[in-house]
Symmetry: C2
Subunit: 489 residues, 2 copies
């Protein structure tokens, strides 16, 4: 009689059944951070993922969890309601590197209030609940009870609460900085990565619809409190994060819908992504000076020109917009900057981004062929830049899909309909597998899918009832972070 | 080039990559209730579970989800926060039968306020949040977007809010009744199963510590409103559900800690489980008269005697208690009633329960050998009663385990350390596999494990970040419900 189980047990309670060895009391009494699933049937399928801990924020259940993909097993989870938030919406996430993620790692989590149009496109039940927050979090798997806890409420520490993308500095900015962004407040905050983070720099972007100019400004904390006054809903231009397409008709005419700050992997540069105007501010991460405003639309010039600098405000002329964009970022090598133009143009702009002076970058190609209703959205890297993966989102009743792009030809070479409402792609630490989540349009089918990056086989699918909009595989090193949620979002 | 995916796609975006057939626009535009995973690697492992939809209440994330075990994929989920509750704790669950659960089914969900000692054994962050509730819920998989929604807030409809076990009538009570119970209020409510449920009968139990008597009473709704006045926290004797062992030292001396109402599968009888006094009230489900109070401890007589009936109150003498119990229920055939004695005695009492007169039932055996620190708790049935499964719970740092009992010998014949803090067992509709959930002591390792009931192999493990205390496989028929959350809990 063969009994597969977590810890091999040698006894039975009654000690008398045929085929059983030994008596009672031989039960393993301790439980460690990770169980032994080697005798279980799923081991053949999942053991190849050893070393990959996947962090899964549950946008619609208010939790974050750490999952051992090789179990597969949830290692620990945390309900942000414990931090005092009613209906928390954990939105975006980034993990610090860890040589042994089973033992421990830190991560960053942003959240938005549910005024954002998540449930049923604007569920009234969610209004006036939730909050903007950024947390530094810690997973501790070193003892007998795994746990996740809050290290720092960065929104309270800095006085600025931003709810969208978070990305950790790499390359010249490794071991230094983390960036947060928000499209309701049109702000970006850079802080240090220590447990009591310090404000490094903050940006605000505004559109002047009369002058047709985008102003990018440094903003500063109050000189006496050393903090900003942008906690909670303070500083909001719009009542909710713009839905795809809403970039074209913002309630606030100054809105630009800042999406994220992504980091160049080899140069002291970063990009502030601006959805509404299809452009990205390329910033010097030594001086934090905006150096250029790249225009990503097909048919537009490569840049919107700087027309004025006055004090801490840089003014760019944006006379016309051919398309909004959404996520954008660098390929792992840093050779290319890719921007997902969508809503009006569904293509991916490819800038060559090797020159230290971003004013010399050039649009070299576009990934095309997505048609009218499929919108390029999130981007996922692999360590050696042999592929780039994209989420191609579509409104109900269309599922959207995941696609693989060959950076030698900028052609789509594979695509997968993984399920409705697909979201971020990431890769396993060995660069062999792509993980991707889908949320089932906020209530329906949802889960995590694992794809072999080269053979294109769907190698695993796992259920999830959390409504994932983002996820991250904990990187093993600062070099590994370059293909995680840092260069791209 | 082989591409496995949910819906077989024949086109690529660029339409130009080698090995790709056709052009763009061949993407499937509709998404149905269930995806096609037949080309995916996990299909070999999971396709044998076709037909099994598992309902998973997330005690610590406030959601309930329906999972297709054959995907595996989450089909839909619902956040009870949408029903206006701050920090909802979905506690116990029971599903109505459905010939095609992928298309739709109804289920019942109870919840407790988080004053109950869940997080870190009494997390102060949870106090004064949450609520007692019973909901009739519906899964709708008939359209293009799966969904779960509230059909009826039974606590509001009846005026009585109970937060622990729920069980649906079977056998003579099939297609009629559902029972709810609560150990903070020591009440049981029976309602009809229609979408606008009617009050059928309600019970309250109290201990008289001076007379050493347990009083079991019928309680009645207000004659003018036709409702009870026990919503929210009204009617609570204790601030939280008794932890295991707390039965011995209740804050309220009248507390008996009612746990559940379980239904006899072949006779018009049911059992009200009373934790503190290690006894169960056997009730006639035609007249709702308490017929007998069976005493489940080893070394006690088979019954505590009825000493008085006065109006709608039945008084039983309970002079001494050798052990508390927790869950108890009938084996699928109805031949035996099994009660999990724990805290002072860790054994399972076996009553022969075939006689229509419960005063003739007899304790025939005990399942023993669990030692001091392992407590028999939940019970799981299979359709043909060839085995009974039990959760054997243990306090940290011990994991607890799942065990299989042979009803021919009442010996434990297999056990599995599935993970820390194991909870309910259920079986697939074919009776071949046992599903069981573990919650990792409310923050740590957690998931769902599937065991072959006969070969004892662990055939699958899935992660879950919800902290499961209960789950149910949707039964396919009223006969199938007899081995679901009805006869046992």
């Amino acid at each position: 009689m063969s009994i597969s189980r977590r810890t091999l047990l040698r006894g039975v309670g009654a000690g008398a059944a045929a085929g059983m060895i030994g008596g009672p009391g031989l039960m393993s009494s301790a439980f460690g951070a990770v169980g032994d699933m080697s005798k279980e049937a799923q081991h053949s399928l999942f053991s190849k993922f050893k070393g990959n801990v996947v962090l899964l924020p549950g946008k619609y259940n208010g939790t974050v969890s750490a999952m051992d993909l090789s179990g597969p097993e949830t290692l620990a989870w945390y309900n942000y309601g414990l931090a005092g938030i009613d209906m928390p919406i954990p939105h975006h996430i980034a993990a610090m590197p860890s040589a042994d993620p089973y033992k421990g790692f830190d991560f960053y989590q942003t959240m938005q209030p549910p005024g954002a149009p998540y449930i049923n496109e604007n569920s009234p039940q969610w209004r006036n609940r939730g909050d903007f927050k950024m947390f530094k979090m810690r997973y501790d798997g070193s003892g007998s009870q795994n746990s996740i806890h809050v290290v720092n409420d960065i929104s309270a520490t800095t006085g600025m609460a931003l709810g969208v993308h978070v990305s950790i500095g790499v390359g010249p900015n490794a071991q230094k900085y983390v960036a947060f962004a928000d499209g309701q407040k049109d702000m970006v905050l850079i802080t240090t990565i220590d447990d009591d983070p310090k404000i490094v720099k903050a940006f605000r972007a505004d559109y002047d619809p009369i002058a047709r100019q985008v102003n990018v400004s440094h903003v500063f904390p109050d000189s006496s409190t050393k903090k900003f006054d942008f906690q909670g809903r303070k500083g909001m231009k719009t009542s909710h994060e713009a839905m795809l397409g809403e970039e074209l008709m913002p309630a606030d005419p100054t809105a630009v819908f800042v999406d994220a700050f992504t980091w160049h992997p080899t140069l002291p540069l970063g990009a502030i992504l601006i959805r509404r105007h299809g452009c990205c501010v390329i910033v010097n991460t030594d001086t934090w000076e905006p150096l250029a405003l790249v225009s990503t639309a097909k048919g537009s010039p490569d840049f919107f020109p700087l027309v004025k600098q006055s004090g801490y405000t840089w003014t760019f002329s944006v006379p016309s917009v051919l398309t909004p964009l959404h996520e954008a970022g660098f390929i792992t090598s840093g050779q290319y900057f890719l921007a997902c133009n969508n809503v009006l143009q569904n293509n991916i702009a490819v800038f060559r981004s090797e020159d230290p002076d971003p004013r010399k970058w050039k649009k070299e190609a576009f990934v095309e062929g997505f048609g009218n209703k499929y919108l390029p959205l999130h981007m996922g890297n692999v360590p050696d830049s042999r592929w780039a993966f994209f989420t191609i989102w579509a409104r109900k009743p269309n599922n959207g899909f995941i696609c693989k792009v060959d950076p030698k030809t900028w052609k789509v070479v594979a695509k997968w309909d993984t399920g409705p409402d697909p979201h971020t792609c990431d890769c396993t630490v060995d660069g062999q597998y792509i993980t991707t989540v889908y949320s089932g349009n906020q209530g329906g089918q949802s889960g995590l899918v694992v794809i072999h990056a080269d053979s294109n086989e769907v190698v695993a699918r796992l259920p999830s009832a959390a409504g994932h909009h983002d996820h991250v595989v904990v990187p093993e090193s600062w070099e590994g972070l370059k293909s995680s949620r840092s260069t791209s979002v």
